[in-house]
């Protein structure tokens, strides 16, 4: 047995034992797996690599922490309740249209930031109470949020996995808009209708109305929505006028919008709101630290290369199969990591098709990794928003996920025929 395989088995095995049997947190279990991996790999305990790996996701961690503050602010200031009431009042007669519109709202922040975390924590947090008001169960609402956020991350104009794959093969990130829309929009419509429509067909507005808080909206008026307007405005302006407006970064945009929220609605205890937000974020932040260490040690010991080379040693049919299994599954570590580590070699092995369609499909499939536990950034936060365990939400994601994987696979297989989408 090759040493890299032994290292990999020890890392995964010790992680599972620590997490499932000893009930240690995912973060500590991953750290333990990484340390045992280095010992078995003959590297001792390389502090530098463990420390360096811990910083891989520093930027993402800052987005999560600040987005969590924003989410708490708009929740406690009454913005979410007011917005929910307004949307239901206006669209309850056309539930299918309302569901699709709400799905697009969930996707929007992901489309412009390329981050499913940003989508689920901003628009997801706003839309979730509306969906639940309409009678959709919490677990299905969580699934809509998770899938919607991931589809937003995959949709144009910003698809970071596609950028990572094209960067890895020196292809310009041009012509991706239509292929990515063709992949994401059908999935969004399918998911929204599958999970939501059965509960909204005969929406009884009078019944729903009793659950709506109409008072908070009338008390504060439009200014209640200013934090959300600020958030979307800053996101759009910094993208649209990137040459003129300095890059604020998502963490600062979330913080600015949160500060606005302190003055526009119900009164808030600033310190307590920030404290609650950060303590809610810590387990996920710690998880990212553990994942960073894990992937760095996989690279150091050759376990990462072992996975990649064993995927590539197979024919095109197996590559297609791996593209809808191993590639999204790599998201258990990181979806961006999946795009970079597996997406690029897969792309290089599929150059016989249409390059843009192939890269778009691979990037789309890599995005699905944000559903994969234990990291499952989109999934875990969607579950937190609807106050459910992710284990309850994930099964609800399976049919939409299967639809997405199937569509991605069809794009890979028929990439040559879909070249007309590349403009």
């Amino acid at each position: 047995m090759q040493i890299e395989l032994i290292v990999l088995l020890v890392m995964i095995g010790s992680f599972l034992i620590a997490n499932m049997l000893l009930k240690l947190p995912v973060s500590l279990s991953m750290m333990l797996g990484a340390v045992l991996g280095t010992l078995v790999g003959g590297e001792g305990i390389p502090l530098r690599h463990l420390f360096e790996g811990a910083f891989v996701y520093l930027d993402t961690m800052m987005i999560i922490a600040t987005a969590m503050i924003f989410m708490n602010v708009i929740e406690k200031s009454g913005t979410i309740e007011a917005l929910g009431a307004a949307i239901v009042r206006r669209f309850y007669k056309v539930p299918a249209v309302m569901l699709i519109l709400l799905m697009l709202i969930i996707m929007f922040p992901g489309m412009i930031t390329g981050s499913s975390t940003a989508a689920v924590l901003s628009a997801g947090a706003i839309v979730a109470p509306i969906l639940m008001l309409m009678g959709i169960p919490a677990s299905k609402t969580g699934a809509m949020l998770a899938i919607g956020a991931i589809l937003g991350m995959a949709a144009p104009p910003v698809n970071i996995p596609a950028m990572l794959i094209t960067g890895g093969v020196d292809m310009p990130y041009i012509g991706f808009a239509l292929p990515l829309l063709a992949l994401t929009l059908p999935c969004a419509v399918f998911t929204a209708l599958l999970l939501g429509l059965p509960y909204c067909k005969n929406l009884d507005y009078e019944k729903v109305k009793t659950g709506l808080n109409l008072e908070v909206g009338s008390r504060h008026g439009f200014k209640l929505y200013l934090p959300i307007v600020t958030l979307f405005l800053l996101m759009i302006l910094t993208r649209a006028f990137a040459a003129y407006i300095p890059n604020l970064g998502m963490p600062l945009i979330f913080l600015i919008s949160s500060v606005v929220g302190f003055f526009t609605g119900e009164k808030l205890d600033v310190v307590k709101t920030v404290e609650t937000s950060i303590s809610t974020s810590v387990p996920v932040l710690a998880k990212l630290v553990g994942v960073g260490m894990f992937i760095q040690i996989m690279t150091l010991t050759g376990a990462r290369g072992f996975i990649v080379i064993n995927c590539l040693g197979l024919g095109i049919v197996m590559l297609w199969i791996f593209s809808i299994t191993i590639l999204p599954a790599f998201g258990a570590v990181s979806s961006f990591g999946g795009a970079s580590v597996l997406g690029v070699p897969f792309m290089l092995s599929m150059l016989s098709g249409n390059h843009t369609i192939t890269a778009a499909a691979l990037a789309f499939l890599a995005c699905m990794g944000d559903l994969m536990p234990p990291t499952a950034l989109a999934g875990n936060y969607a579950a937190k928003i609807v106050e459910q365990r992710y284990a309850k939400v994930l099964p609800r994601c399976l049919i939409p996920l299967a639809f997405c994987l199937l569509l991605g696979l069809l794009f890979l297989i028929f990439s040559k025929n879909l070249g007309f989408l590349v403009l």
């Binding site: 947190p25 420390f51 360096e52 960067g167 020196d170 040459a243 150091l300």
Partner: protein, 381 residues
Amino acid sequence: MKFQPDQLKGNRITAIAVCTVALLCLVVLAREFLSMRKAEPIYPGPGVTRTAMLSDYFEGIKGTAGDTEIYILEGKKPGASILVLGGTHANEPSGLLSAVLLIENAVVEEGTLYVIPHTNNSGFTCTDPQEAAPMRFTIDTPTGPRTFRYGSRSTNPVHQWPDPELYLHVSSGQSLSGAETRNINRTYPGRPNGNFTEKVSYAVTTLIRQEGIDVTIDLHEAAPEYPTINALVAHENAMPLASMAMFNLAMEGMEISLEPSPQNLHGLTHRELGDHTNTWATLMETANPAQGRLRGKTDERLVVTGQDKFYQMAAKYGNLYVPFDERGHPISGRVSRHVTGIMQLAQAYNDLDLGKRIVITNVPTYEEMNQDIGRYLATPH
């Protein structure tokens, strides 16, 4: 002791213990990371007539980690000028070593040779998280070992941070993933009021304009699964020069492909320097398995020997763009390709008979360097 997943209960003692261990790690590791800011010594050879700083061409980077030495080798007779960019990506070590070899050996009889060994100087002060690369590698010379830094593809985030989600290359309007904002070879021609990395690339562009550099050669390495490899990439203006050099290299037994610079891939030297200055912009790539996604154990041995069992398997599967057997792609071979490429580009320039020449001597041959690069590095002192 059992804990709920993601909810670890602690107390004051565990908190103090964890903080103490973290502090100790920080002290030890900070020294290790900071040691990368100490540059490896370079010993200017008989051909170096003077040195300058990149900030001499753009004040905006003076006193920053982006400022770096330019070694200038002037001939007795004026003539054409060549600029060699080593260390554009600090994790592509043959670029740095080729530049060092030229500085320590080459003598220019006619014309001027400009050599920048650490083009993105900041990139040499850190490593890339997730890549698990060694911080240094050692080359044995007949008189003792010499150690060189193995840095990052990008500017150190300590010098430029945070990355935007999306990097907009202003002069072309091209969008790239945010991390590319610290990749100097995506920021050319640079901007005087841009970010840290754009200012460094702007300084290089200004040097080329002010000195009227005739030929620019940017030295790179790439993963063996990358399509543009063992290749010479040239801007359309530089094609006559590059094709003649490629022919000469083939005559010398060194196979290299010639690739045109893609017109719609912006920010790279071979595109932007050709478009925005009068230089003939070229770029060379060799194969470095230590950069690849398929590699096995990542260590100093891999960087120096270029041998990797997984890449041998990948070659058998047909996934690579270079041959790869048990001999791998040792650093001596990679440096010899670069240096020979530079010499042949200089020769091709002279063969084009443009009214000025550049004559570089005292550089070992392709075969000599291929045997052992260490023999041509200066004695450490």
